[in-house]
């Protein structure tokens, strides 16, 4: 018998983590309110609704977990609530909710996302996730349908494609394709595990099948001119192939392919080439193409180590800062220290996601868990690297934090699926 006291039940641990997060969120809100109030005494109080939803909704979600007897990884859930709390705070600060009930579309995503989170947990919790493997082909067709809808109905806005109502359903494509890949690859584990001298050599029929099935969505991303999404999906594919074959050959292959694609794509698309050039030398056109990234870096610089304090910076100087460049706003106001803590929480989330994958019972669940975690991780990497100029900008949002309803709801759904998969009894 172990002498250490029995650990807290997972839901209790998660609740404790949430309370700590809520305290941080409270301080942040007071700080932002202080600055806002000193500028304008008459605030539309309705803009606090999403924060209210956070304070009231998350405990209800935890209660739901308790009711269904969830026994997953509390750190994973704690990280999700901490990150989405920070996301709400920075969106509140950037004035995304400023119109209050006048713009309900801006207020709804977090409550809806919370619901999606619970749906996710319920779908995969208690080791029930295995049945999702049957929906693999359905998910594949649904993803293609979303692409088709985008092609037929989408309208361009700031280089991206949106459906009427400013929805960006391409977000949902990521988990759908991950689900498909998990189902498809887990059935062919043996084929894709074959290696010669460390180089993966799947049999030709299996390879051709995958190339064909994967090629269709890839061609559709090209038709949509969404190269960021294409990069992201391929990175997820590489991570999943690595996970199934457990051969580092796939990772090396993936890195080489990414480098070649990154180099080659600039010859194919003027848009991509412009982004590549700006990345290499933003100072050749500082007031034009280099403006956004240089303003983002200037925001970081003015934040310094400790940050200006939430509400006290001038992140509005960075164009479209609340979505793709939200990390620059955070860097300015919470400093390098705050950024370091946030990235640590992200790292913990991914780490625990992969850990949960390792502990899953069926190969399908394992792959699903790796793919979903990988999709969040790759998105985070590409976004943060883009904003800090470590890599060219790809137009990918920062999970949990960027402005954008479809992004937040999808991210929370994925987080819910992960939380469910971490509970394997």
């Amino acid at each position: 018998m172990s002498r250490t006291p029995p650990p807290l039940p997972p839901v209790a641990s998660a609740t404790g983590l949430f309370l700590l997060s809520a305290l941080a969120v409270l301080c942040a809100c007071l700080s932002i309110l202080g600055v806002k109030l000193s500028n304008a005494p008459l605030l539309p109080w309705q803009q606090l609704i999403p924060l209210g939803a956070y304070v009231a909704g998350v405990p209800m979600a935890l209660l739901w977990l308790k009711l269904i007897g969830w026994k997953g990884d509390p750190g994973l859930v704690g990280a999700v609530f901490l990150l989405s709390g920070v996301g709400l705070v920075i969106q509140f600060r950037m004035g995304s909710f400023a119109q209050g009930l006048g713009n309900p579309v801006a207020l709804a995503p977090f409550p809806l996302g919370l619901a999606a989170f619970l749906v996710g947990v319920t779908l995969t919790g208690k080791g029930r996730g295995a049945w999702l493997a049957k929906t693999g082909w359905l998910a594949y067709l649904a993803a293609l349908a979303v692409f088709a809808a985008m092609l037929l109905l989408g309208r361009r806005y700031r280089g991206g494609l949106y459906l009427p109502g400013h929805m960006n359903p391409s977000e949902i494509v990521k988990p759908l394709l991950v689900l498909f890949l998990a189902a498809y690859l887990s059935m062919r584990q043996k084929a894709f595990s074959e290696t010669q001298n460390g180089i993966p050599v799947p049999p030709i029929p299996a390879l051709l099948g995958l190339v064909f099935l994967w090629g269709i969505p890839m061609l559709l991303t090209i038709a949509l001119k969404d190269l960021g999404l294409m990069m992201l999906l391929n990175a997820i594919l590489i991570v999943m192939l690595f996970a199934i074959a457990r051969s580092t050959g796939y990772l090396a292959l993936g890195l080489a392919a990414a480098a070649a694609a990154g180099f080659g794509v600039q010859f194919l698309s003027a848009h991509a080439q412009a982004r590549f050039d700006v990345w290499l030398n933003p100072f050749t056109d500082p007031t034009g193409k280099g403006w956004q990234i240089l303003q983002a870096l200037a925001a970081m610089y003015s934040g310094g180590l400790w940050g200006a304090g939430l509400g006290s910076g001038v992140p509005q100087a960075v164009p479209i800062v609340s979505s793709d460049f939200v990390y620059a706003a955070l860097a300015e106001e919470v400093g390098l220290i705050g950024c370091g803590l946030l990235l640590m929480v992200y790292a913990v989330l991914f780490s625990r996601g992969f850990r949960a994958a390792g502990a899953a019972k069926t190969p399908f669940e394992r792959l699903l868990c790796v793919g979903l975690t990988g999709s969040l991780a790759v998105q985070t990497l590409l976004n943060v690297a883009g904003v800090t100029k470590a890599l060219p900008m790809t137009g990918i949002t920062l999970p949990f934090i960027s402005h954008g309803g479809s992004s937040l709801i999808t991210t929370l759904l994925v987080a819910g699926l992960l939380a469910g998969l971490s509970d394997r009894k």
Binding site: L17, S31, S38, P286, G304, L310, A385
Partner: protein, 523 residues
């Protein structure tokens, strides 16, 4: 209650309150993050995806480190600082608050100073006299010359030393004082040199031969550094052009110093016949003649020539006929080698600032293969072009026992030897020859009592218009302390246009104590 709250926030303790909330937020964020990190996790399963965990965690750490190079060390990137100074919209940004440091001369006199309360304000006591070395700092026309390359220092963002780097990385963005930059220039000498040019197009370089320190670097005409617009638009007089370092002129007879040095190094001391009709280097080439030929012709007389002549006499009288033959005798290989050592085809770096270097133009000497061109080039004509700074530097090498020193404008830079241009013995022989030029020859008018001036005149044919007038000299002969090089564009004869300027400047420098007293006390 809301009013009360507003009062509190806008009152005395408002900032403290916000600071307290900022600290509390970071503290709670840290506690929550660490709690997430150490929260109990599910038991590890059969399969271990450790590699994926390591890869993603390491990538995030790498990105954070890269972010720090902007967030904490952005001030080490000059183009980034420049961008922020122009386009940062943050009203309290540190780089907008900095009081720009002053630029000082070698005796601590102000060459450029900030105007309190005016971000782009700048005061230049010497005005147009020193605008070329100092440059300007202008909101519309940008930053040039020393103001540009020393910008990080003047803005307080320059970094020297590791400990300082850490300190500045964490705290410097809040710094509001720029650092001073001290130059080797002497404000009075610079001013006097500019006045002596009196609006004529030309350039003056005054430097210390053994250290390369530039005491004056003048280009005329100058312009008001607070108003570069009209200067940049003036295409006739091109006042914005720095003739001392960027202007390229045929060196004329000043080039004979290098040819004589080359021959002496090869132990050649030939005597040549120098007939009045000149020297014909090859078939179908016009004869190279001495200037006396033309002087006689103008009077309707015939120049009889120097007859048999040795090097010393040829230098004293600046005989083209002799030096053309001497150049040919030295041969192309030795000539090319000398040109390379004298950095004629290279640009001379005369200032290394925190944000880059200031460089002269490259001179131009073609690779020699044919006899004809070498004869022309040996007398500083034909395709050869140099900047006044190049001429001052090889003159200084004669004064400094053959050592070619890098010219330098910043007092903080150490003297740097670029090449051993000649041996010490050759340099001594050249000094005697150049002393004779001033005692008996073309440079007689520069013979200041007991100053032992050594020098060489030059009258270089320009592609159009009057000849360019050169005089390059140093003093005193035994322990040279000062080099003065004067160029007057289309000034005519070196001896009548450039030489008087150099003489007056030498006298002024002597009054200021730069010629007779020791060099040690000064840059």
């Amino acid at each position: 209650m809301l009013e009360h709250l507003m009062e509190l926030l806008n009152g005395e303790h408002g900032p403290d309150l916000l600071r307290g909330l900022k600290i509390a937020f970071l503290a709670f964020l840290a506690v929550a993050s660490l709690a997430v990190l150490f929260a109990p996790s599910c038991k590890p399963g059969k399969v271990n995806y450790g590699l994926l965990r390591v890869i993603f965690t390491a990538s995030l750490i790498a990105i954070l480190c890269y972010q720090a190079t902007w967030q904490l060390l952005g001030f080490t990137k000059p183009s980034f600082v420049k961008f922020m100074r122009r386009y940062n919209k943050r009203p309290n940004a540190a780089e907008l608050q900095v009081t720009r440091g002053p630029i000082l001369d070698c005796r601590g006199r102000i060459l450029a100073a900030p105007v309190p309360g005016d971000l782009w304000g700048r005061r230049y006591p010497l005005g147009e006299a020193a605008v070329h070395p100092l440059g300007y700092f202008h909101a519309t026309f940008g930053i040039t010359a020393v103001e540009r390359v020393s910008d990080p220092t003047l803005s307080g963002f320059a970094v020297e030393g590791g400990e300082d780097l850490l300190n500045k990385a964490l705290f410097a963005p809040r710094k509001a004082e720029g650092d001073p930059v001290t130059l080797t220039l002497d404000a009075r000498l610079q001013q006097r040199a500019y006045e002596l040019l009196d609006g004529r197009k030309g350039a003056i370089v005054v430097l210390r031969p053994r250290s390369g320190a530039l005491l004056a670097l003048v280009s005329s005409p100058g312009f008001n550094p607070l108003d570069p617009a009209s200067a940049l638009a003036d295409e006739e007089n091109t006042p914005a052009f720095n003739r001392a370092t960027q202007g390229r002129y045929p060196p004329g007879s000043t080039f004979k110093i290098l040819i004589a040095g080359l021959a002496l190094e090869k132990n050649l001391r030939p005597t040549f016949a120098c007939p009045g009709m000149g020297y014909i280097a090859g078939p179908n080439t016009p004869p190279i003649r001495d200037s006396e030929y033309y002087a006689y012709a103008r009077k309707g007389a015939v120049w009889p020539g120097w007859g048999q002549m040795d090097m010393k006499a040829a230098m004293t009288h600046s005989s083209n006929v002799y030096f053309a033959q001497l150049g040919v005798a030295c041969g192309p290989e030795a000539f090319n080698d000398m040109m390379a050592r004298a950095q004629i085809n290279a640009s001379l770096t005369y200032m290394k600032g925190a944000a880059g270097a200031l460089e002269s133009s490259r001179g131009n000497v073609p690779e020699i293969s044919k006899k004809r061109t070498l004869a022309q080039l040996a007398i500083g004509q034909g395709e050869v072009l140099v900047t006044p700074l190049h001429v001052a530097c090889f003159t200084a090498a004669v004064a400094a026992d053959g050592k070619l020193m890098r010219p330098r404008l910043s007092r903080g830079e150490k003297p740097e030897e670029l090449a051993q241009l000649f041996g010490a013995k050759t340099a001594e022989q050249l000094r005697t020859q150049l002393r004779d030029v001033v005692r008996f020859g073309t440079g007689k008018a520069a013979n200041i009592a007991d100053l032992e001036v050594c020098g060489k005149t030059g009258t270089a044919q320009a592609p159009a218009g009057d000849d360019h007038a050169w005089f390059t000299c140093f003093a005193p002969r035994r322990h040279p302390k000062l080099v003065v090089t004067v160029l007057i564009e289309h000034g005519g004869f070196g001896a009548t246009a450039a030489l008087p300027v150099a003489r007056e400047l030498l006298e002024e420098a002597d009054r200021l104590g730069y010629v007779r007293r020791g060099e040690e006390a000064q840059p």
